[in-house]
Symmetry: D2
Subunit: 409 residues, 4 copies
């Protein structure tokens, strides 16, 4: 119950800098308004916990079952995603009241004895679900804010300019061979991290740091965006259609690169990891650099021995930063999600969650790529080495960056 209360309180704390007008913004179909995130995470607990715990449950908010259903066809026909920004009602205040109402009813479950079995599992899943939406709330807001010429800042104190603690990136060797990936223990994981299974790896190397803004500027200066030979066919077509010549949010002014951040427009810090790359951009950069992206198995094997530490949301920077003094993890965790070359598919023997929650992950296993490691807006407690995030190759509005890999020579 403490965890539950802590998480739901955190989500609301994230909204403190927002004005009422900001809660409804949806600047493209892929992003959702902050108000929607607030309501949908409560909807999860109402739909998958309260309504299941009590067969006679009658919701005081019957219309919300439709309005705040994300994509669960099993629950009913979801309200269309691209129109979430059109819901000026319920108001922000009503949504907070909804959250409070659901929270009280969930707490009441404990009064009748600590929830157990599948109910406890569903609450635990709901907590992790809400952590995911905490990150999306910030990345979605960043995108929507970026479309306003006033460049609103979510946070007014920008992070201090970086000073890199390491020289140019070096490579770390891995022997490959038979390895186990996936989540094996009894602790919580999503269904897509299971079952743990063996994989066969060739010897490989990983860069000891993510690709930096300085690195990526060299790619741009070398005409990387103009050389078709560096790009996947679909990526090149996307480039011709969009006209993009730099990462999302970047703008060139007065001879310098700036980018829109959660602190408003800021100069690009050359030492920080590059972010807001599509898979296509990450793949093209790797080819230009004479390297490749790691597979998710290579990434996970490398990460298994490392502490889950890094520049997470709790650091308060809310932006990728140069390597920190106390970083023992090669920045594998935090800062930026790292694109892997692995398509998002089910592991051998994959079983979706039971019932309507089976739609949580499995139905998205097509056309997306896996990203690993978490970002500067991920809750630290949410991450682990087996964690799999996934986005379409064209998506750029997450803090998506990259790390180079290569075959051991």
């Amino acid at each position: 119950m403490d965890a539950f209360l802590a998480i739901t309180t955190q989500t609301e704390a994230l909204c403190e800098p927002l004005q009422v007008e900001d809660y409804g913004l949806q600047a493209m179909p892929e992003v959702s308004p902050a108000k929607w995130h607030l309501a949908h995470t409560a909807w999860y607990f109402e739909t998958f916990v309260l309504a299941v715990a009590d067969p006679d449950y009658r919701s005081p908010w019957p219309a919300y079952r439709h309005l705040f259903n994300s994509y669960y066809n099993g629950v009913g026909n979801p309200f269309p995603r691209p129109q979430r920004g059109l819901l000026s009602r319920p108001s922000v205040e009503e949504v907070y009241a909804y959250r409070q109402g659901v929270r009280e009813r969930i707490c009441a479950l404990w009064d009748r004895g600590s929830p157990a079995g599948s109910l406890a599992e569903r609450i635990e899943l709901g907590i992790h679900h809400e952590q995911q939406h905490q990150e999306l709330l910030l990345t979605d807001l960043k995108y929507s804010f970026s479309r306003n010429p006033l460049a609103p800042a979510y946070q007014t104190s920008p992070p201090p300019a970086g000073r890199p603690e390491t020289p140019a990136a070096a490579w770390r060797d891995f022997p490959g061979g038979m390895a186990a990936i996936g989540h094996g223990g009894g602790a919580f994981s999503f269904d897509n991290e299971r079952p743990q299974h063996r994989v066969l790896l060739q010897p490989y190397q990983l860069a000891r740091a993510p690709v930096s803004n300085r690195d990526f500027m060299a790619f741009m200066e070398d005409g990387g965006y103009q050389k078709a030979a560096l790009w996947l066919s679909d990526g090149w077509a996307e480039l011709q259609a969009s006209g993009a010549m730099q990462p999302l949010y970047w703008a060139h002014q007065d001879g310098h690169w700036w980018h829109f951040t959660l602190h408003g427009m800021q100069a690009v810090d050359a030492d920080a990891p590059v972010a807001h790359l599509s898979y296509f951009e990450a793949d093209a950069y790797a080819r230009w650099a004479g390297a490749r992206l790691p597979t998710e198995a290579e990434w996970e094997c490398a990460a298994q021995a490392l502490p889950v530490q890094g520049n997470f949301r709790e650091c308060g920077l809310l932006a990728p930063a140069p390597r920190q003094v106390d970083d023992a993890s090669d920045q594998m965790f935090g800062d930026v999600w790292e694109w892997t070359s692995s398509n998002y598919t089910g592991y051998p023997g994959y079983r979706p969650f039971d019932g309507e929650l089976g739609e949580y992950n499995g139905k998205f296993m097509c056309n997306q790529f896996v990203l690993r490691g978490g970002s500067c807006v991920s809750p630290a407690a949410h991450l682990r080495s087996s964690y799999r995030n996934f986005f379409y190759p064209r998506d750029r509005w997450q803090f998506s960056g990259m790390r180079l890999a290569r075959d051991a020579s």
Copy 2:
């Protein structure tokens, strides 16, 4: 000055029923958020009055010159219309402060002596401009609210169910011949109403009432939406693409017709004039009824002798209503805008306003049709017999209805 203060106060009064969250809604590119209407009407006075009156004028809100420019290329590159809903900042409070700031500066002009000449004309035009936006504020809000399954009501007390004061519509005869249309006197008019000029009319008849919901339901029951022969080619194509089978906002439930109104979902009042028709629907109905739409010259000649009275916004109904007892005007004014068969073009000898205000009307004289008479959300003082409204033939979100005409036999 009184008129100026009255109008700007009225606009704000129209927003009283809104919650902060409602101000930003933009459910399709053609409609604008209420906040944008508030800001843009102040922008008019700042741009075309304050900045002209004082060559040294320095705006305290320089970013707004771009943000709230509607379509005046002469003033600069306007912020893209489809994205107006993405401007969560400036906040509602800031926009009200902007209005207050502009209002005070305009009033200060009077302190330096009553404005005269072109400055006075620009203020007068600004007042009429704001009246136009008052109507759009309501019709745009209605459209955006309609996309919310909760069907929010702008006003909670619906108008009383109607009782028609007249029997079935009869026809009124007009002799035709040489007539003068357009605005001729010294009082205010838009440039598109001028110059007054002679036209030649054949003898004609006009129905003494607009087409009612009952009339239109007969058309629907007779399969009007399925008979290609009734429709203009472009209208039929639009119908196939949209799948529309009834006026905008209508829904059939439990054997009855309902429609979304500014009072939420309401039963359709059979005696009230039908509204929210496209030009294509109006034209098809007229063909089905063995009649035609009037030309704007026919309409204007008929209206010149009538008092400008009717169900305007000041009546407070905010919905078309059956004929009122005191109506001496055949409902030519108020209730619904009436589609005419006239394309929106410049009258012979038409001259746009001078300077940047030349973009006010002239550049839209293409592909649109003229509507006449005003609606239940038009300010009464805004209308006159020479007034020309105009929309694209596919547009339906205005209170657009129709009146039948035919050649005198």
Copy 3:
């Protein structure tokens, strides 16, 4: 019968330069393959003459009733226009056989006595219908050929370079007043030219020649395509979307203007009338030149006294040309269709053709503008001063040019 045979033979003669592969080309939805024009014009005679003349008529080509129906919903559901190019079958040879089969059956009507009454009228209409398609066959082919980098020539001998017979254009005065336009006599006309009716005109002037390529180049050099103030709002939007900076078919190479013609790529002849303008371009040019487009009534009144002579298809140039020595008509006829500022609507008292042929013209009376005078690919016998052509304001693939008008000072 002679006229019928002559016309159908002419249509086939127009196809002589084509290779079999060319007959199926359809480079945009608005244009049709040559094979389709051949089949559709025969379809007219089969559907509206043969099947009407004999109630027991059984078509040997039943599938064609659907395949080659252009837009007559009354006849059945037409095959989708954008897919006409996908009909590799029936083959070219089969379509010629279809034409021959229909031709023989039509001639057989004469063997049973000369057709009279509505049947004769339908044959006459079919002849004029086929003349319209003769022109479209050439303009459509020109467009489709233009998309091939090989720039195929329909005719290999280009017209001789021009030498203008007149100095710079002067103006001709017209007194205005009450005038009659529309087709009044017993001879053939389309329904849209009727009834003849009176109109009231202000005194006006017309340029004595169409706008030339030299004139239009001056507009381009003056930045006409970059000045928003010159353009209608819809035209400016079209320009931003398409990126067009010159008339259709024009290309700038080595410091000179070239354009694609029915003779392949040719240097632009500065003295010839400019062609392939949209209404938006014509309107912008007129505004730039301090003039305006004529109304169709102004054009027709001016043309009524002139002989219908000019550079028509029979001249064999198949391109607009500088004024000819024997031109007594100010180039009002031939060379280029001239955009008027008049929307395409029914004249007062307009009655469509009876029955299914009522769809011929009336249903297109929306969103289009009238063009007058015929072009270098119009059959001379097809034109008259009351003839109304019509296209959407964005259309450019016809030989559409312009003539300036202005109010008499």
Copy 4:
């Protein structure tokens, strides 16, 4: 040289049933006209063999370098794929002359001594390249023909109705474990089949026959197309957008299923393998059947021991057929391409072909799925167990079917 001559002659033989008008058909951007396939396969030999063999090579067809480049940015800017159908010129005859001209020049290389080294490799690749286009020529033609209401037949004698040689499908067991996949020997393979490498497989089962039309009809009758829970999220969205409720080419008439084939419209043979499924359909069917699709490694391990025999193009049926008497391969080869659950990516250590030919395969390794086994229109000599075909999950115009797999219990 014999192989070269044989292949190019075969391609032309495939076009024998075509009329000249058929050569230019392109009914969607993904398919190409037959004429383009003829020209592009010659273009390969001219560009990658002739122009490389002789540094002074001057092409007699310089315009074709641009026109018939498919997607090799390294060679220049390719002519836009969606517009290939607009190239009525060069004519069919000219394209055959082009093929003959290239053929003669290639043969002349042999006169100067048998080509060796990379030149020989490029010729060999060109032969396999042409085999690929032979299949596409037929599948593309089938698609384009299918859009014609006349339902033209490529072949007039349909295959005999099937009689299944086997009872209901049973399962074959595979032990899994460490296995080697990919092409290892010295014989020809594409770059995407190399390098041979080890994979780790769990024990699994494969159905002994592809899913049949009868099987798939059961899925349809059970409402498979209406049950969201069976579909990947992207597949369900595709279904909602397209409205598809059956495999491509199927139509229900008079209570029976028909489908368009290379023999025109034919009754669906319940015993034949189902074809023209998207990946989404195949995946949904497998889920409905309580099974899954095989991975490409599972498929390849199962196929390695089998003879490459089956219903290939040489059988002349040109349609999937029930199991043949002499089939020793469980129909793994021929009939239909089988969707696997494997994304199309490079094998560990993958190296693209050198130079401009590096664009052959590698740049498509994104968003596509692997299909295995060849189809009824694949040349038999083209297939092997390591052969990887790939298409986007929404693609249906290939002879794409499926085989069930499941984990060994």
